[in-house]
Symmetry: C2
Amino acid sequence: MDVAEPLKGVTVLDFGQVYNGPYCGFLLAQAGARVIKIESTKGETLRGPGRPVNGTYPFATLNRGKECITLNIKKKEGQNLVRRLVEHADVLLENFAPGTLAKYGLGSDELRTINPELIYASSTGYGGSGRYKDYLGMDITLQAMTGIMSVTGQADGPPQKAGAALCDFLGGIHTYAGIVSALYERERTGIGSTVDVSMQDCVFPTLLTQLGAYFQQGEQRPRTGNRHAGLAAAPYNVYEAKDGHVAIISIREGHWRKLCEAMGEASLASDERFSSVHLRSKNMDELDAKVEKWTRRHNKAEIFSKAQAFGVICAPVQNLEDVVNDPHLHERGSLVWQKHEGVGEAVFFNTPIRFKGKNTPYLKEVASLGEHSNAILSEMLGLGKEELEVLKKEDVI
Amino acid sequence: MDVAEPLKGVTVLDFGQVYNGPYCGFLLAQAGARVIKIESTKGETLRGPGRPVNGTYPFATLNRGKECITLNIKKKEGQNLVRRLVEHADVLLENFAPGTLAKYGLGSDELRTINPELIYASSTGYGGSGRYKDYLGMDITLQAMTGIMSVTGQADGPPQKAGAALCDFLGGIHTYAGIVSALYERERTGIGSTVDVSMQDCVFPTLLTQLGAYFQQGEQRPRTGNRHAGLAAAPYNVYEAKDGHVAIISIREGHWRKLCEAMGEASLASDERFSSVHLRSKNMDELDAKVEKWTRRHNKAEIFSKAQAFGVICAPVQNLEDVVNDPHLHERGSLVWQKHEGVGEAVFFNTPIRFKGKNTPYLKEVASLGEHSNAILSEMLGLGKEELEVLKKEDVI
């Protein structure tokens, strides 16, 4: 099978740190771009210090397939090297604290005077304009700020974060989307753009169900646990099975009818109390009890396959052990077992941006800190062995 | 200020339904593409039936700026009209149940024989390959399947969904990213691709912290509420304030030192018990109590601005009322107040894919069902008034 590499020929300078920027760089690498990861001489936050030389699992999986170089941008000579690299790059990607690169004379306006075709992408907590533009943000504080915590959890419990680092990853994928949009536009205009992604902006749309209920009701109602955010659909919940839990959702009349059939209670579909989405929502407790009476008698896997056979939207609540071994994800090539130095044998993910009939490109194991510094600086900037040694001695690379 | 329209000139046939597909179509429209939304003659799930003519808030905000036409793809004549429209389109976008369009002879292989440049994008629960490829999925069941529920909530509570519809929106933005990647590639090859996005694939990376802990410890530990997923960083939690809650995170030594300064307890930074990330994690309960003693004495807003002034990563837990009125989001143009028929006055979001120094394009209020059917079919396919009347009478449009 062919390999999909839509961004082949694109060169990226990736100053990403932790999750947001590196996820974007990972997607670029797996779309076929050449991604040069630039770290401080100590390594970025997720690699070190105090961690194994090639980092832990999160670092190793996000930074596969990147060439790793070090540059000390606090030093004038390091800043000059960035400027020289920018002449050879299509994209610069960063998610430092706001204003970090500008402070060192490496802001988008300065760098575009060197290379007008450069696409400069910044991904921050709050974006590059507005009163909070200089504020720091990480996933958990963005979950607080954006309202996710206010709608997650039980009615009588405290605000609850989502376990997934969704702000970071929504930031990373929107930044990728901005970069590729700018690359496409550059084909027409010949000029680069500055992508300005704010994690806060990216989260807002995901609360659409709650926002709909809020604007309709004029107020925010209590959290609804695993039920529909507006309590306006049922069955819609997580139910106990013999060996865990399953989630079931029904939105349209057909979903409900099929669920009744799957439960072996076709007559329930014509029961007065459950004969419209309005009545099902009104009699939610009774209805949920009926569904759970069924799910409690079966295993998760039985319910899953039976429900799907009847056209019911259902899935087991999987734990991480289930997820990393999910046979479908492995068959599809979304997950692969790989052995990495410092991490051992683990399951690594491939890009979710997939193309029918094509494989994702193989990405090399994460490189060690500065592994490609000499090769890249010599190939791209023509630096010689002695110059490189001096730069190394002076803690520039 | 100029308006950013990187995809100007691109024509999209948008068969999106509910959130996933329509969010992708919304992003395309706000990137300057011409987006033609195609619905059944009854309207897509989120518009009707049984809802106001122009839908509720979620429908109205996701479908602004699209031209709305109806086509009954269950009828031969409707299928033919799709084939004819495809000759004039760059992109076809859909998130039907798997195989729906192929069943009507409108799969990617068939349509690319008509237009080899067509980019055909499908966004489904489980993707187009692997054993679950025909399975149905919606946000809540994908949250179950992907492990999000297993890591959200309290250690002694049941698995908990994230309030945000993150699977749907991660699906939509990855589909956008796939489409634009394929558009960029087409500039070189002249040939379209079939984008195959699976919501399940998109979620996996967001569990990176938990996966890291899982592979390190060899097992999944209990849920950690609002604390670090691996209990390997502190302070990292949601704390009570006088008037609600705030989230605070510290990862690096500097974060912790600055927090001590913000709390007016600089000496705490040199306290033996809290002198490394390892010790802070070990003495987490004691540490959290110290931080909360401080936060309880102040209002959320005071803590937020004081913390940020000291370089501490912190944010208030905002509710929806706070979020829709967030002054920063309005200053930045990410949110706008608009009045829509059937919805009234509400806050609408603009695309999170932003470009520095450029505005997002204005999007017209959502169109009513089939509002542009006659205009589009006449403009693009040259259909006359009488033909249109017959199609209408026969429930084709």
